[in-house]
Structures are given as C-alpha cells and as structure tokens.
C-alpha cells in the first residue's frame, strides 16, 4: 500500500464515517423495531430523541459522502501518474479486481445517500414524521452498502502495487476486444443516439403530462443510455478521437475538466427525476423537483450535443 495525502484523507474520513454510522445504525435498528409514535413511555421518548440525533449524524455523513465522490475520482485520476501504464483513473480502477465493483457501488450509494437526504428532509417537514421508520429502514440497508464501500476502498488502496504494469483506458474501453462492454461501445451510433434522444423526448412528454411515475422510470433509463452514449459516442467528440472511449479522461485538465460538469449535471437531473416517482411530495414541491430535473437533463443534453455539432460545423464531417 502506498499513501498519498489524498488516500490518507479518504482513509481517515472513512474511519470516522464507519464509527458514526455504526452508532447511528444501532439506534436506527432500535427505531425500526420498537418505535411507536403513539406510545408515551420512557423508551419511546428516548427513541424520539435518538431518532433526531441519529438522523442528524446520518445526514452529515451523507452530506460529506456525496461531494467526496468527486474527490475520490480526483484521487484516482491523480494516482494514474504513479501506476505504470495508467493514463487516467480508468487504469487505476482496473489495477485491482476491487476497483470496478467499488466504482459501481459508489455510484449506487451516491443515489441512495442522496435519496435518503431527500426522504429525511421531507420527513422533517411534518409533525407526524411520516417517513421516519422508512428512512431508518433505508439507512439500515445503506449502512451495509456504506461499510461495504469503505472496506472495498481500503482493500483497493491496500492492494495497489506501483511495480505492476496496468492497462490504459485505450485497452480497457477498446471496441475490438471480446467483452460485453466492447459490444456496447461498438454498437451503431444511430441506434445509440436514437435511443438517447428518444428517451429524452419521452421524458419531455412525461414532464408536460406530469406523469411522475413514467418520468421517474424514464430517468433511470435515461441515466443508463446517457452513460453509454457518453462513452461510446459523445466522448469521442470531446476527445476528437474516434477510438477514445474513456469515461475518465474527460475529467482531466486537457479537456477542461468537462467530465465533472457532465457527471454532476447528469446526476442532479436524473436523481431529482427519479425521486418524483417514489416520494409523495406536495404539489408545489413536486413541480419544483420536476423543474430541477428537467432543467439539468436539458443542460446535459445540450452540453453533450454541442461537441459533435461543433466538430461537424468546423470540419464538415462526422467522426
């Protein structure tokens, strides 16, 4: 294991998260099992106090964990200069067998943590706290995912070897290798783009119909197709290289850190799109979240569409 200031920072924070999350988890478990809002017993009053304390602890863990994901990606990108063969964070992720599962787990957790925060905010708006048990039950599940993430992260950093040569992103995201990923990346651009813009148009329709369930479902699909098309198609125009399919290089200064903007915008747009279908917001709040989601999804589509259009206008051909 090698220690950089970034890895030390992440490790110390992870230890703190694990300690506080475990305290909150014990309380959450008691609340899920024994909380009875009509009871006026000593134990119930104690659980009510603990519910506020635990919710505050969890909220602050997640408030830090969400932006910390950006720092994590930044750290991976920085580590690429230390691992022979790695050109960007993709090489670091593939350097150990833990990298890819960790990355997927982190993305899943990102949505779960953000969802918990929204659920908690909604719960705290009402005197009877309608989501209290649900939010602590969700945390009980999220706790294991959080601990899993912390363990995987520690193991990944621990098992990195700066003497081993790793793959660069050109090899990992190649269209010529025999993997599922290469098949997706090698799919026809017209099919991918048709699906991408098709889902986007359907989302707009669902937005104007105010069909929150359809809109929510479409946002999940849109997230998947947006990531696929970013790697398979739009990314090549950002790099201006038809064979460069890396989702990480666009986080580097060479590309003006555009990846951070794209991923953050996509996350906000699809996240708020997702929550409209699963939480019963008041009409005004629902509309607000619809609007945030639509706005950010539109920004994302405009941003990614800009690159191929700019390329075509400048060069008169597609890649």
């Amino acid at each position: 294991m090698f220690l950089t200031p970034e890895i030390i920072t992440l490790t110390v924070l992870n230890i703190l998260f694990a300690i506080f999350a475990t305290i909150a988890f014990v309380n959450a478990l008691k609340i899920v099992l024994y909380y009875n809002k009509n009871a006026t017993t000593n134990y119930q009053y104690m659980l009510e106090k603990k519910s506020y304390l635990s919710a505050t602890i969890i909220k602050f863990i997640f408030y830090v964990k969400i932006p910390l994901f950006i720092f994590f990606v930044y750290t991976l990108d920085g580590l690429s200069t230390l691992l022979p063969g790695a050109m960007c964070a993709a090489g670091v992720v593939s350097a150990t067998s833990y990298g890819t599962p960790l990355l997927f787990l982190k993305i899943l957790n990102l949505y779960i943590f953000a969802f918990w925060i929204v659920l908690n905010n909604e719960d705290m708006k009402y005197e009877n706290q309608p989501y209290l048990k649900k939010k602590f039950l969700l945390f009980c599940i999220a706790y294991f995912l959080l601990i899993g993430e912390i363990v995987l992260e520690g193991v990944m950093f621990e098992s990195m070897d700066i003497n081993s040569v790793v793959d660069c992103c050109g090899a990992i995201f190649s269209t010529t290798s025999q993997t599922y990923l290469s098949e997706i990346l090698g799919a026809s651009s017209s099919i991918l783009l048709g699906t991408f813009y098709g889902f986007f148009i359907l989302m707009i329709v669902a937005y104007f119909l105010k069909n929150r369930y359809l809109y929510s479902f479409l946002n999940i699909l849109f997230l998947l197709i947006a990531l696929i098309t970013l790697i398979a198609f739009f990314g090549t125009y950002i790099y201006q290289q038809p064979t460069h399919h890396c989702p990480f290089c666009l986080l580097q200064s060479d590309y003006n850190y555009i990846g951070y903007l794209l991923y953050i915008v996509l996350f906000i747009g699809t996240f708020f799109g997702f929550v409209v279908g699963v939480i019963d917001f008041q009409a005004k709040e629902l509309q607000k979240r619809f609007n945030i989601s639509m706005l950010y999804n539109c920004i994302y589509v405009i941003c990614v569409s800009y690159y191929p259009l700019e390329y075509y206008i400048k060069n008169g051909v597609w890649l």
Binding site: T40, Y45, E48, K49, E127, Q129
Partner: protein, 218 residues
C-alpha cells in the same frame, strides 16, 4: 386547553422531579402552581412550554400533543402560542429594550416597520416605551421584568407562563405585576404562575391553586 396526563419526569442520576401528575387547565384561567423550591413547579412549566419532554406521559396544549412534537415543531408552536417570563428574565443585557422584545419575531421574517410597530405597541402597553433605546443592563429589576413580560407578549400568545415572577421584586413592583396579570386575564389569556410568593395565594383573579410537593400533587 392544557392537559397533563400521567406525567413523570426523571432527570439524570434518578432525580424524580414529577411523579404521575394529572392536570387540566381551561382557557382563560389563571393558575398558581404553589410549592417550595425543588418541588417540580418549574418542570411543569417547561413541559407545558415544550422546553423539555416528560419521561413518561403526555402533555397536550391547545389540542396539540406538544410532548410528542419534534423539537423544531415544538419551537415554532411555542413561539406562536406561548409567552414565558423567566425567573431571572433571561434578557440579553447588551441589547436594547426594543431588540430584546423583538427577539421572538426575528424568525418570522416580518418587515422592519411591522416589527418596530409591534415593539412600540407592546412596550407602551407595559409602560416601558420611554426606555426603548436603553440597554437592558442599565434597567432596574422592575423595569427588566416589564421588558420580560413585554417580550413574552409580543406574539400575542394564548398562554403565558411565569416562573417565580416576583422573586426579585419589592412589594410595590409585585403589585404592579399583579395589575398586569389582571389586564392579561381580562383578555382571556391562560396564565400559569409557578411561585411560592404568598402574595398570589389570596388574589381574586386566581382561579386555581395547585399544590406540589416532592413532584407530587397534594
């Protein structure tokens, strides 16, 4: 108006402040909680105000189960419905009379003009308007008490709680305070006073005297 059901309050180190208390107060009543120091009078006030929660039992104020409210809802309920006059007044000595009186209004995002008008009206009502710009630390005990009462009334609360309000006053000022109470009662305010001052026990405006000893009702 105010119902206390099977309430016990046990502080740390197993100090029993209240034991299985049941009380019921109606709107517009003036109630005196009588008992020596440490008998549990202040604890009852703090439970009614939602400043603390019972260990067991339930407190219902104006139809709202205040003991079951999350803290931020209890705070807003208290701000809207309850005025409290603390024993030591709990004023901020480095702020002016007006600023002290305005404190409960700041979270309401009212305009400056409306706040100033409300402050002037309530200070005038309790005849302290001529000291409006003076720092509270420069006021006498009786004047500070008037400021505390004005602050407790700035939101025009339905319920007024006073904890040993005459403990630091001489007889003349205490009688002035009673006149203020008389006026508030005439406006149908529910008033609960925790005190061991004999001055209150034979007052014509008192509807009920509740005797408390060692956390139990007598």
């Amino acid at each position: 108006m105010i119902t206390i059901e099977n309430v016990s309050k046990i502080y740390e180190e197993d100090i029993i402040a209240l034991e299985n208390i049941n009380l019921n107060f109606n709107e517009g009543e003036l109630i005196v909680l009588k008992g020596v120091s440490g008998s549990g009078k202040s604890t009852i006030l703090s439970l009614i105000a939602g400043l603390s929660k019972p260990t067991v039992g339930e407190v219902i104020v104006d139809g709202k189960k205040i003991s079951k409210l999350p803290d931020h809802f209890a705070t807003s309920f208290r701000r809207d419905n309850i005025g409290i006059v603390f024993q030591k007044y709990n004023l901020i000595p480095t702020l002016s009379v007006t600023d002290n009186v305005l404190l409960p209004l700041f979270p309401l995002n009212l305009s400056h003009e409306i706040m100033q008008e409300k402050a002037y009206r309530v200070l005038k009502k309790f005849t302290i308007e001529h000291k409006a710009a003076i720092m509270v630390r420069n006021l006498s005990g009786g004047e500070q008490q008037r400021v505390a009462i004005a602050r407790a009334n700035i939101n025009d609360p339905k319920i007024i709680l006073a904890d040993e309000p005459t403990a630091n006053l001489d007889e003349k000022l205490s009688l002035e305070f009673i006149e203020i109470l008389r006026e508030l009662k005439s406006k149908k305010r529910t008033i609960i006073i925790a005190t061991h001052d004999p001055l209150f026990f034979d007052l014509d405006i008192v509807d009920k005297i509740v005797l408390i000893e060692h956390g139990k009702l007598l």
